[in-house]
């Protein structure tokens, strides 16, 4: 079933795109991440121009995170104050991302930077996750409980001036720390079309030292608003948001996300995490090879 994409200027098989959205949605429902890290590279691989892919993937992440946010709000596991600070930073970061995006586009290095960022980000986070989940699995098998980690934020965070109380996160820290964190994810969202949940969740746990139960809800809350802002910024600046492409991705991913959420309840979280770590490392390795191997296309054309 071929469908013409009015902004990307090419026709795609609608079922392939819906299926792709479905797979990504399934993963996002299972692991509580946006899944943008998979959508953008897959779309580019399918032949969609990189800018259109990144711009349209952001709105898919919005759709996939909405129902998660509602669930967490009902459970009271969203720290609105922390989320607000993160969003403020995220929107600022997305604004900076627009500028960086244009600069890199002008220099012709946007593809390389996107590739390197993916490898570093996914490789780093994937390795961290793999280590954690293997330790958890070993602990599960041997029956030994891992020593309880002392929940404390990073010394750098403590050094920042001005402190606010974040009750639901159980923190008394400077709002500058989450603001900077939000900014970093905002830049990534704009450049890569990812939600930034990958960076956010570990950073909230290990850098800020947030209470575990409110981490996922708050990060979803931030992702929801930052991807909304990013979609808007792409619509206003790059004009590369393809509504038809976004609709196809959304159809797949919102359904996939619901299925994924149900599946995740019947699988042990330790196995889920090692599965996610494997996928993340696999994508990172594939991207790293892509940087080093001779690319299929030596030449690229940019219309002015």
């Amino acid at each position: 079933m071929d469908l013409y994409l009015p902004i990307a200027n090419l026709s795609v098989n609608a079922l392939v795109i819906i299926g792709l959205g479905g797979v990504v949605g399934l993963l996002s429902g299972m692991f509580g991440v946006g899944g943008g890290f998979l959508t953008t590279p897959l779309l580019i691989f399918y032949g969609i121009p990189p800018t259109v892919a990144a711009a349209s993937a952001a709105s898919q992440v919005t759709g996939a995170s909405v129902s998660g946010v509602f669930t967490h709000m009902a459970r009271g596991t969203v720290d609105f104050r922390m989320g607000g600070v993160l969003i403020a930073g995220g929107v600022m970061g997305a604004g900076m991302g627009v500028f960086i995006f244009r600069l890199l586009q002008y220099l012709g290095q946007i593809d390389t930077v996107i590739g390197i960022l993916y490898v570093l980000m996914l490789g780093g986070i994937g390795a961290l996750m793999a280590k954690e989940s293997i330790q958890a699995l070993v602990a599960l098998k041997t029956g030994k409980r891992p020593p309880a980690r002392k929940r404390r934020h990073h010394p750098l965070v403590a050094a920042l001036p001005m402190r606010w109380r974040f009750y639901r996160s159980g923190l008394y820290i400077s709002p500058l720390a989450p603001l900077l964190l939000g900014m970093a994810t905002g830049i990534l969202t704009m450049l890569l079309g990812v939600g930034g949940g990958f960076i956010l969740v570990p950073a909230m746990l290990y850098l800020l030292g947030m209470a575990t139960q409110s981490v996922v809800g708050t990060s979803l809350f931030q992702i929801l608003f930052v991807t909304m802002a990013t979609t808007m910024m792409h619509a206003m600046t790059t004009k590369a948001v393809d509504l038809v492409l976004a609709l196809l991705l959304l159809i797949g991913s919102v359904v996939g996300a619901q299925v994924g959420t149900r599946l995740s309840m019947s699988i042990r979280p330790e196995y889920l995490r090692i599965l996610l770590a494997t996928i993340v490392l696999f994508v990172a390795a594939r991207m790293a090879l892509g940087l080093g191997f001779r690319p299929d296309e030596i030449y690229t054309i940019e219309v002015r």
Binding site: Y4, T62, G108, Y299
Partner: protein, 253 residues
Amino acid sequence: MPRWRALLALPAALALMGADEPQLVPDVSQREVVIQYSFTGADLLLFGAIVYPDGRRPDKPADIVVVLKGPEQSITMREKQKVAGIWVNADTARFRSAPSFYAMASSRPIGRIVDERTAAIYELGVDKLQLSPSSLNESAELSRFQSGLVDLRARSGLFVERPGIVEITDGVLYRARLPLSARVIVGDYTAETFLVQDGRVVAAAVRDITVRKSGFEQFMASAAEHWSFVYGLVAIAMAVGMGWAAGAIARRI
């Protein structure tokens, strides 16, 4: 500019015709190609008649070359090179007049119809396109970029060469089918027909073809361009609405 060159060449060709030169009466199957939701490309039939003065046909059959050309674009091309172990964009070249689409068909392989010089004047063949480079590259570098462009566009169906597919019936009627890729851009296209006798272009004619997006596709493209804020809001509303609806439905099941 090649477009000018073609235009300059036309009156010259017409002047050459005079009374005892043959004339071309070309036509195309579609004067307007509409891109709509199910657009996966189109096949264009270019056909017409050769009118000889007094109806006398020459003893040696003439050849026909048809060229379908899309709007010209100003482009920047980048070439990847291996730097410190990874492939990055290194060299660039800029061209002011690269056709977004180019398709050519001829009754015999082009090398056997015209010589190099004539082919270059009328831009017959993807390697004969006048791209008007605007950056300061060496000529060896430019030809490398040009072949890169041809290769890239040929594989996405934007540059097509079909030698030998023009059928000429009884020396007066000709027809050729050229594919229009799904990736074509909207704009004004031209279908040029050349009548070649003894390596000389003796007649030329042009027909215009318009490629445009149909209602919905046109609406989307112009909305994204002109009402980008509202367009963005719609994209966000769609994402939130669908995510919320899916969640609400899933809770009922």
